[in-house]
Symmetry: C3
Subunit: 306 residues, 3 copies
């Protein structure tokens, strides 16, 4: 049923300055990891130098996207076709997006419970058993099923939210009174989720206490993360699985929070910071630092060219 | 649309022995954090001494609630109005509760799936797509939408449960049999949630294996916490985001479990204990201790006057 | 209402080579932990030697299942009845399963949203507000309510899935493009869950990027765990609360991941490995090792006879 795609068609879809080695008439049927590929598979190799050469030699993939930097003799790739580009993983991703990913289906499931005062753009998807309060939702956004979004949430364009996510639940704020009972700080702020954000399954994003909790443009949040009240996350950050961001903490653009890392409240994480896996961050971190450990300490500068 | 509230009205609502400095005729429109406030804002300052003085000087808030201990000259607060009280955050919370928080709406959403044998008090809220087994639920309790509560759960009065919470799922108990398969210890106990408890989004509270899992009166649980089977949490504890409380562990009254802390099973945490962020607690902890680290070790006595 | 069960009936249900001490005519009404038991309770004691003797002496249980290795005089157990077996906890579990656990109820709740192309075996349970894509689900499997399962998921026989679980959500894969935006690696793989698996409340199991995420036969996953894309977990493993398993990591048969442990991506955990509570595992672990700490280091060999 699936149609075969020729190397020519693949290359046309890449804007990259790419170089083809081997048979340009070859056709592929399916994408596959390089170590599990077959003759009709499209694969990629992100490694460089001899490591890449060995992976390519050992693979059975018909077509392999690899780095333009690798020097290969015909005997290295034999009857395979190579497409050499600047960033093989990115080129592979784009071919997946174009030829193999299902196109998003828009529409609102009849079981979704949506406030009559919500402002929902025309081309959105809202899945079954999702509840949405008085919110704004921008075009191209996909809200899967079994999601709960409280009022005072504003979601931008082309956002994706996975099942089990709760947005706008009350932040955690209490004060002991004269009788040692915990009195609740009413949480009356909102949540702003900018364009191109993705939020993984069962993550929670609390509403602000007075102001708003903000997730910046293009930031990607993984599953089971906690985003406390009044947190402000910058643009294009990676917040990975089970990261715990306590209330009022700020994270600068392009930063990376590794899985299971915990950030105490009211600190400032700079831009282009990397927080290591399981790190417990108890103080602010300046721009371009890598911090690791419990409690987290600086390891080195983050040299990734941003 | 919102009505302005005069300093006089604010002060009438506080039972505190409060002292007003400056214009008592001033009116405020909205609450705001002290560093983002405007002339029509009500703010508060929890700090003391010179730090408080600087914050008050720097703020544009029309009305600031601050500590009665602070000594201020007219030049420090100029045209602002100050309300000086014993506990500024608590006073501010009470004004929020009275003037700005939405009143709870009671009622049961028609889509809620509730066992005919459940005993639900009259004045409760149950949200859309929530499922409730053979349970008891007390007056004033708010069960939001997309929640799952199994049979044998007893929930007291004025409890709040946020979306995505699962109460009464099976505890985790298995035993390897002669063939090394894992046989399940049937989980036939229940869950008791006492009055005034709050449970944050996507938290799970497992049923007891034989007896019950118990959350004591006035305890507040944050998002994404795990409360294992047969755990017993005392009164007015703070269990913060992503805390992991393993089965059969006990926590005494007034204790504080910081975010991402993990407690091993079958230990006893005393009263008024503080467990630090990300701490991994592998043994019992006596009353009034602060423990931190991996594995957790005593840091000092907890001097908070409880 | 409940019927009393005689020691004779209990013993008939055990295939074990068991030895009865005391009154065989005695009847019990309810199972209970040994320290809370009454005269009409059935209890068990897993301890050995003097510790067991003391627990049995101190208990009020009418019938106690204990280890055949314990030497007891009549004065130790007095008017109690003892059933001595090789594995007391396993024997107790089997009596619970036979006499006290509710039989599973099969059937599909009318509110479940199921793809017309899903293949559901006849004898299954699917609870309210659960959404199931184009999946296969085997006989005897219980999918509780408020669960979301995406297409390309294959679930075996006698699997149990608790509320709030999300299966087949997109794995977390992004690449920075020329403009430093994060482009998404389309996630087009699936999830395979083999027979006899259990998945606890609010756990997330992501679909593979290209291939499949696999949970092996008889593995038991606790609440709030994250299973990343392309993870392969072997048979009969214990993955306990809040374990975080990053993408493409493999775990061998019979391994135990303690609560709150985090495993980095693309590593191999051997067979019969124990990972300690809160451990942060940053590299592969050979068979039969116990690793603990942050970062995790070998502690000793795992001597548990598997």
């Amino acid at each position: 049923m699936r149609k075969k795609i020729s190397v020519k068609k693949l290359v046309e879809a890449l804007e990259d300055n790419c170089k083809i080695r081997g048979d340009t008439e070859r056709k592929i049927l399916t994408p596959a990891p390089i170590d599990k590929a077959q003759a009709d598979s499209l694969s990629f190799c992100s490694r460089k130098g001899d490591e890449a050469k060995e992976m390519i030699k050992a693979s059975r993939a018909g077509v392999i996207i690899c780095s333009s930097g690798i020097k290969l003799a015909r005997s290295d790739y034999q009857d395979r076709t190579l497409i050499q580009v600047a960033n093989p993983r990115l080129a592979f991703i784009r071919l997946l997006q174009k030829f193999f990913a299902a196109a998003p289906q828009y529409g609102i499931h009849p079981s979704a419970v949506i406030s009559p005062r919500a402002k929902i753009a025309r081309r959105v998807y809202i899945g079954p058993y999702t509840c949405i309060g008085e919110c704004e939702i921008g075009e191209g956004t996909i809200i899967h099923g079994n999601i709960h979004i409280f009022s005072r949430t504003r979601i931008g364009k082309n956002v994706t939210v996975f099942p089990g996510v709760v947005i706008g639940g009350d932040g955690y704020g209490f004060e002991r009174n004269e009788e040692n009972k915990l009195e609740k700080f009413p949480q009356i702020g909102g949540v702003i989720i900018e364009d191109d954000v993705e939020i993984g399954s069962n993550t929670t994003v609390d509403r602000g206490a007075l102001g708003d909790t903000i997730i910046g443009e293009g930031t990607k949040i993984d599953n089971l993360c906690h985003i406390g009240h009044n947190v402000v996350i910058g643009r294009r950050c990676l917040i990975t699985a089970m990261a715990m961001i306590s209330g009022s903490t700020k994270i600068g653009d392009y930063s990376y929070i590794a899985p299971s890392a915990s950030l105490i409240n009211k600190i400032e994480i700079g831009k282009n910071v990397m927080v290591g896996m399981g790190a417990v961050v108890t103080g602010s971190v300046p721009d371009n630092m890598v911090v690791v450990g419990v409690p987290a300490k600086p390891l080195r500068e983050n040299v990734r060219s941003k």
